[in-house]
Amino acid sequence: MQIFTCILLVFLIVCAISVSVSKNLLNSILIYMSYSLVMSVLWIVLESPDLAITEAAVGAGVTSILFFVTLKKIQAIMKSDEEEEE
Amino acid sequence: MAFVQNLPFICILLSLFTGPLSSILSGKMTKKLNLVMITAVGIMSAMVLAFTVKSGEAYTYMMGHFPAPWGNEIRVGVLEALLATVFSVIMLLCIVGGSKEREEELESTKQNLYYIMANLLFCSLLALIYTNDIFTAYVFVEINTISACGLIMIRQNGRTIEASMRYMIMSLLGSGLLLLGICFLYDLTGHLLMSNIKEQVQILAATGEYQIPLLVCITLMTVGLAIKSALYPFHTWLPDAYGYSTMSSSAILSSLVSKGYIILLIKIYYRVIGIDVIRASKITNVLFVFGLVGMVMGSVNAIKENNIRRMIAYSSVAQIGYIYMGLGLGSEIGVIASVFHILSHAASKALLFVAASGITRASGKNKDFASLTGAGFRNRLAGIAFTIGSLSMVGFPTFAGFISKFWFAQAAFENANHTKTMLALIVLIISTVLNALYFMKTVIRIYTPAPALAKEKNYQNITVRGQAPKSFAMICFVAMNFMLGMCSDPIMKLIQSGLEMFG
């Protein structure tokens, strides 16, 4: 069990670092999403199922959706700007 | 249990509930609701104050069916009731004073959202004042942050949105540190209620266990709240946020919001960790140094500023420096002076913001100094009010600011550490001179007659009746400043007895 926890923790740290390093915003968001999922697995390991459900629904679900929508919105604004320029 | 003892709880619930209720009402109705609510809370807090002064001791109020270490609690003493009363008066006057600006600057469909934010902000301030549970304090700190951000950005232009982003980033850093500090403290003591944590911390301090984590946890909470209350190196969000948001927001933010965090810090020092442990940890010295730097640097920046609102905002940075300097002296009297300064600064800074908006309205809404020339003649009441506010800030006798500076000096004199005494006194003098420089510069400018300028730019005179709500607010603020300045003794006694109840 300890080894499993350790692997998850290392994965979390790797995710957190690669979020800040990655050049592509979409990649960062995807990595953050997986970070949240791993976190919710970790919470199941730590015997807190309430937290795991909430983190899976809120952290990996809704927050990530909001990130995606923001990115999409930004791209939409970018596109309409480009059209205007043309 | 007397019925009066229920009132703090009713105040919190009432202000909390008016937030959602405002969401379905129209703009005008919400304004009325908001004013009625704040007035009611003010009256109730005054009754609580009378009750606690009479009974002479603090009491705790169970939030739920479970006693102390298991359930939530709020705690009511003289200091809490006093702060709640003063805060509700100031909040009411700020909202009244800025009503015209709000109508002009905000979109008509977003009027009621403003009052939702104001109600929730007020509720969170009350909860921060009264709560006896450190995690509840964290939750309400977050409400406070979000609703303050709403108040900043509701007037929408690029500046305010950038300022609120900056504000959010800084405050979130602060609340992250605060939350981590709370977690450490919970791990060390196993409690979340302030009184129980204190007992455990006393035991830890006596046995010498967990010294390093305790120190780290004190540091985390102090730094977190210092960031949130804009102590000098963390003040970068402040001038933009206060300078460009609508007037009543700036007044509320500068006089109440940042003070709410300082009060929470004082509460943590006295009721959670215990002031002896804090003194032994030497964190007060750090606060002292940062306070001194803030006092000077805030004033220097204010002198450089060419926009009257931003100048007042930078002056807030300096005044927060004063408060932290008082805390940093580490003595009882220093803290009393700080608490008094919180009240006096709230009264005079709100007055300055209201008066400054009156002056700028008489100058075609220009905020730079050149167009303010002679504004004191065009809007006489605002000119007088601004002068009084400035005098109070500088520390002219008979006004509130003088008393707090006097007590700061007194506290510095009585300090056992002579380097601290010398430093505090020197910086007090320097800062007062700098204060006088920029405030008197403004006062002289608004009383320099400039009929040519007024004619050329077609400025209009504003009479007292032409700005009835603002005049009312200004007169009340001036009266408050006088009251705090002339009869400060009873208030000082109240603060002293309140702090004793804290301990």
Binding site: L51, T54 | E142, G158, M165, M168, I169, L172, G176, Y186
Partner: protein, 126 residues
């Protein structure tokens, strides 16, 4: 100062602190607004991980009463879970607020770089 054997035993908390540091650095230093917000979320979840580890006791079960067993020896500490539950909701609302601020800023200044926005505002003023 540093108690290394203890630190190794507390490896979970150490990892949480490192995550906190990464999140804090991102929130403070990243120029990109979206990465700043991800940093904020990482920082918050790190604190929650720290708290959840506080409540964990090896060999005990989640605090949901099974078969009427109500002894302390059977379950882990429920308090940290409750606190984290509160915290998660706070952090989702804060990040929604930050994201909407980002959209507004992008709409006006057409960049996600906070430094560029600041310099543009300064130029505007002049």
């Amino acid at each position: 100062m540093m108690n290394l054997t203890n630190l190794l035993a507390n490896y979970g908390e150490a990892a949480a602190m490192i995550l906190f540091g990464i999140g804090f650095t991102n929130l403070l230093l990243q120029n990109n607004l979206i990465k700043k917000i991800i940093g904020l979320n990482i920082m918050d979840t790190a604190v929650y991980l720290f708290l959840a580890l506080k409540g964990y006791i090896a060999g005990r079960q989640a605090p949901i009463v099974v078969d009427g067993v109500q002894s302390v020896e059977a379950y882990i500490n429920p308090i940290p879970s409750g606190l984290v539950l509160t915290g998660i909701v706070v952090s989702v609302s804060v990040s929604a607020l930050m994201l909407s601020l980002t959209i507004r800023l992008y709409r006006r200044y057409h960049t996600l770089n906070f430094d560029e926005i600041t310099t543009m505002i300064k130029k505007e003023e002049k």
